[in-house]
Symmetry: C2
Subunit: 384 residues, 2 copies
């Protein structure tokens, strides 16, 4: 269990004064920090086929970028490189625990845990991200500089797959030590340079752009064969020019599209599916053979601990207390009756259920059947 | 030249009382009608690779549907079949002339000209369409029945690619003769059965559904790498449940999407591109070698007639008289200065330019250069 310590700040103050506004260095954000994984374990993950990993090496003014899976790291030498592994929470349950300290931000906003290992001098160069990030210092020391958003900064590509930013004025310039945490809002230039072999954990967020949302809604309508309403023009009058698209034609088209967005039910059902879709592969393992519901009941009664698959995205929406609960898991929607709010909450709020919590699923046959389905898909599993 | 005669109705009355409201049989809609093509020419088109053609044959309660290109039609016998050819306006300039009689509806709403040839007893069966259509009777006689929209009608598929509708009450039941025209609004069941070998010309319309519009806008943003604004939540407060998507989260997402639709410039520029995209192949022939602008000037001065490629979709939009003219051709956007409204109008309103009209393009070097580009792409051509 990792607990975030904001020192003199409350979480409310952090949200009000820093979140999406300005960067913050939280000294000792995790007290007595001990790394959930070792550099060797991280390197091991980077050898695997279905894990996204990159290695970035600086050689004077040249930048090299290699993509995983890797064979070995000997060729890269002793300094000036960083290995970055995406979605480590999908593969490493202990590392996934780090995310839990940030759940004062809702699930759906959290993206994944990226972990980097840097040799002395290693870093990805000064750059901007479009998303908020908390960077936790693990073993080793790293110097981090962070600036405020600045429209005059120039972005450039020292390598086709590397976007960096020109020199910036730092408002934060720190030597991070184990357990220190940096919060960086979108658009703030930042640059980390390792002083010694060092691990960094990045808790990244999701903030869809208008393009993503429109594209996601379009895909949803395609997938579910939702045509929606068709354009009509019952009150058409003669056009002076047949080639001219009139203002009121465009206005009618806009209105038709707007009516779609006005459909609160459609939008909430789509959004929940959209935002729980995975971006990276999961370590999903279907139990073979499947469990029978009565076996599952037995395990739960015995006190076996039910854990959620690392990185599984799940959220719920309930328009009002007497409305159906829309539970979203991994992009799928499961409508539950209004009184099942607690079911949704247990599944989405807790990465592992206490014995007490798990017993909730024994109380009705529907709940037992539902949790059985989720276990048999490999979404939840019994922890050894 | 075909001129639409509405008998006792004015076009204003037709629009007010019938357009998108109820079906109408216009006796002698084209006086002294003579077919722009022959059944043999139509059959010839159906042999070609890039022409969309279907043949539908009724055999008792069974329906057969074959898709083109066809080799010959002998196997189909003497009765009970209809050959339908899409987008004949793309391939047959004389047939394309039929569309011109309907230009009191703007270009962008018009889809294409479908032509059918039916043997006695031939028809596609009773069905509904989602679009308005004018069906012109050419040679031969055909019985047409049309009903009003009726939610109790059942749709069914007597063949996987054929959607028909159960028996309906007809409010129109006519024997159509050459030059008669039937107007059918969306959703009205209709059924044509040939009494003798018969040609029908269908002027079809486009009415995008919400799904099409959202999908079109998403594609446009992708194509032009328009990210749009990103979701922000500067005023976030602590959530009681991290798994819960709050009402105001969804409201903020909806608002972000709505801001995109509120961008009048974006929407008009996208819509013009979207709605002028072709659905069927064009008979586009790039001149080889390309013309030089001064050669084109010479031809125009000599009085050569400039014609627009059949089926080429083009429209323009101008938000106000001192705003740029957005000219859309074949899905592409050409911004022109505000004073070029007439340029846009000449290109989009007239399928062929009079000698006087064509001289417009000689008056400035920019116009001459622009029309040269369009000619060299095969969008406009000199008529022999
Ligand atoms: O760990 C690193 O070197 C890069 C971290 C970073 O820039 C980020 O998470 O945004
Ligand atoms: O010509 C035909 O047989 C079919 C015409 C038709 O149903 C239409 O154009 O909507
Ligand atoms: Co970064
Ligand atoms: Co029809």
């Amino acid at each position: 269990m990792y607990t975030l310590e904001l020192n003199e700040l409350s979480i409310e103050q952090f949200l009000a004064d820093y979140w999406q506004k300005k960067p913050l260095c939280i000294r000792g954000g995790f007290r007595h920090f001990s790394d959930p994984l070792t550099a060797d374990e991280l390197a091991g993950l980077a050898l695997e086929e279905n894990v996204d990993a990159r290695l970035i090496k600086k050689d004077g003014a040249n930048w090299q970028l290699d993509e995983g899976p890797f064979d070995d790291f000997n060729q890269y030498g002793e300094k000036d490189w960083t290995l970055l592994v995406q979605a480590v929470d999908h593969w490493h349950p202990d590392a996934a625990q780090l995310l839990e300290a940030f759940r004062f931000i809702p699930n759906w906003r959290i993206d994944d845990l990226m972990v980097s290992f840097s040799t002395p001098g290693g870093g990805v160069g000064a750059h901007l991200d479009q998303y908020d990030v908390f960077i936790i210092q693990g073993e080793g020391k790293r110097r981090w500089r962070v600036g405020m958003p600045d429209a005059s900064l120039k972005q450039f590509c020292p390598h086709p797959r590397l976007l960096q930013v020109s020199d910036f004025d730092a408002c934060i310039d720190v030597e991070m030590e184990p357990g220190d945490i940096l919060y960086i809002p979108p658009g703030c230039p930042h640059e980390g340079t390792s002083l010694e072999a060092s691990l960094n954990y990045s808790v990244g967020f999701r903030a869809p752009a208008q393009k993503d949302l429109i594209g996601g809604l379009a895909d949803y309508m395609l997938d579910f064969q939702l045509e929606g309403k068709r354009y009509t023009d019952q009150s058409r009058t003669i056009n002076a020019s047949s080639g001219r698209i009139e203002q009121n034609d465009v206005a009618a088209i806009r209105q038709l599209m707007q009516q779609l967005l006005d459909d609160e039910q459609l939008i909430s059902e789509w959004f929940g599916s959209y935002i729980t879709q995975p971006k990276h592969e999961l370590d999903q393992q279907e139990p073979d053979p499947h469990y029978q519901p009565d076996e599952i009941a037995e395990y739960l009664e015995e006190g076996s601990v039910l854990a959620r698959l690392g990185g599984l995205r799940c959220s719920y929406f309930q328009a009002k207390s007497d409305a159906d609960v829309q539970l979203f898991i991994h992009g799928d929607r499961f409508p539950l009756p209004p009184e099942e709010t607690e079911t949704a909450q247990l599944l989405t709020d807790y990465p592992r259920l206490s014995i007490e919590q798990a017993r909730h699923f024994l109380h009705t046959p529907e709940r037992l059947y539902f949790i059985s389905q989720l276990i048999n898909q490999g979404y939840w599993y019994f922890e050894e």
